[in-house]
Symmetry: C2
Subunit: 297 residues, 2 copies
């Protein structure tokens, strides 16, 4: 496994792999890897000849009062797990390598999907998705992967990146992989390490709320407002949890829906103390497949 | 010469050329081709094995009160000139092919360089450069050229595209080619056909004003305010011309400069009736080369 720190090295190594006719997969991460990330790596290994993983805590996607500085960084341990998982390349640049000196960033280029980025997560985290789409488009240009792998846990991110790839004609296939959960249903997240033990136990409430919505939908409830209310009620019953939002939205536009007849995405964000967690579940419409999803740019 | 209307055809044709080891050059245009465009094609032919020219009047870079509908369209004549110039591929998509159905554009993706795009042309044409950078990044993804050729006539556009390429790590070399002028100095532009004969005669004032600035600079004047005032005075003496701006700015940041010791860009925009023309000249600093410019992403 090669660890590359510069854009030029990464471009050269990836161009070399492509020139040998190898199919290249990219798993973009911010490090602090957990089994969710490793499931992305396994998907990439199954579909590609060479897997590149980027590890970059992207300052552009953190707000001024967010947890950029204290975001967990476990680089040595991450590399060990990636090497054991058959990853060929790790791209781990510095912020300066990605964005140049701070004084030049005032005239920087941004990639934005305004209609999708200001909703849900974007309401609480203005500028977050602009940071995500900008860094992901840079990674796509540097690595030029055939396939790129993202987790369904960040559902809105997955929708926005698929939209960006389609709109900008990026020559990459986006693969969205299922959420990996702890035994009690908590979605794996690098931020789970911030939870104190009582908060950790309470955090299972996100999945419980979503399962309550899923069960109601499975038993015939189609009214989105009633489904959302039932989910919010579950969160409200957990004293350590503070709801940011729980909404039933369209899977592509992320707009609220009235009924779930054509399928829907149930998304939630909940605070446990100072830690903000997100989770989601897809409600499938009549006749819609539940298989893995792939979209092509 | 092949004329391709769909993104998929263009991607396939260009991928094929690259797979054969050919160096691919892209000349993005809005059609209504003149000798300025053909000089870009000649540069591309000199440096590349296959030259692709895009012809697309990009609705995204026109404001609601601008000349999108009456922008000159001379497609058959353009193709004749390109074929005679040795162009291999013409990519001429429809607005729907590039941007999808109009109702989907509310959630579209944009590429922006905010710090450079709101100045000069951007003050008079808000949103213009967002349209330019978005369409150029799409063309770069579709064609994936090794080199892309732009005219120095659109100086701010050239600066912004070079910045976008650098910031987003786009794997393309941008080549900026010199302005091609009519006998009286008027910079060639597709919009020159809009000029009535008296306006056409008066339009030489842009170049005259820039030459006045150049001459003063060559004879030792370093004060940017004095140079700009002298240029504006030349415009003011032409009754048919109405000045939008004439400024002396930094070649990279496009910020106003006080002195031209380190080189500068003199940019102007002038109305002749309803037609708005732009022109510019580079003032070189001590020891700066005047050769052709190329930058690498």
């Amino acid at each position: 496994m090669r660890t590359l720190r510069s854009v030029a090295e990464a471009q050269t190594a990836c161009a070399h792999a492509r020139a040998e006719g190898k199919r290249l997969g990219l798993v973009p991460t911010m490090g602090a890897l957990h089994d969710g990330h490793l499931s992305l790596v396994r998907s990439a290994r199954a579909q590609c000849d060479v897997v590149a993983v980027s590890i970059f805590v992207n300052p552009l996607q953190f707000g001024p009062n967010e947890d950029f500085t204290r975001y967990p960084r476990t680089f040595e341990q991450d590399c060990g797990r990636l090497e054991a998982s058959g990853v060929g390349l790790v791209f781990a640049p510095s912020p300066e390598e990605m964005y140049g000196p701070p004084e030049q960033r005032a005239t920087s280029t941004f990639v934005e999907v305004p209609g999708l980025s200001d909703k849900l997560e974007g309401r609480t985290r203005p500028g977050h998705f602009r940071g995500v789409t900008t860094v992901v488009s840079k990674l796509f240009h540097i690595i030029a992967p055939d396939f790129a792998f993202f987790g369904q846990k960040d559902a809105q991110q997955a929708v926005i990146i698929q939209r960006m790839v389609r709109d900008l004609n990026l020559p990459v296939r986006v693969v969205v992989c299922p959420i990996v959960r702890e035994a009690d249903g908590l979605a794996m997240s690098s931020r789970n390490v911030f939870l104190e033990p009582p908060q950790r136990r309470a955090a299972a409430v996100l999945h419980r709320a979503l399962m309550r919505v899923q069960t109601l939908a499975d038993t015939g409830e189609r009214d989105a407002a009633k489904l959302a209310a039932a989910g919010r009620q579950v969160i409200a019953e957990e004293p350590l949890a503070h709801l940011d939002y729980l909404e039933v939205v369209d899977r592509e536009t992320l707009d609220p829906v009235d009924t779930i007849c054509r399928g829907a995405l149930v998304v939630t964000a909940v605070y446990l103390g100072g830690t903000r967690l997100i989770d989601n579940v897809l409600l499938h419409g009549v006749g819609q497949s539940q298989g893995p999803r792939m979209s092509e740019g």
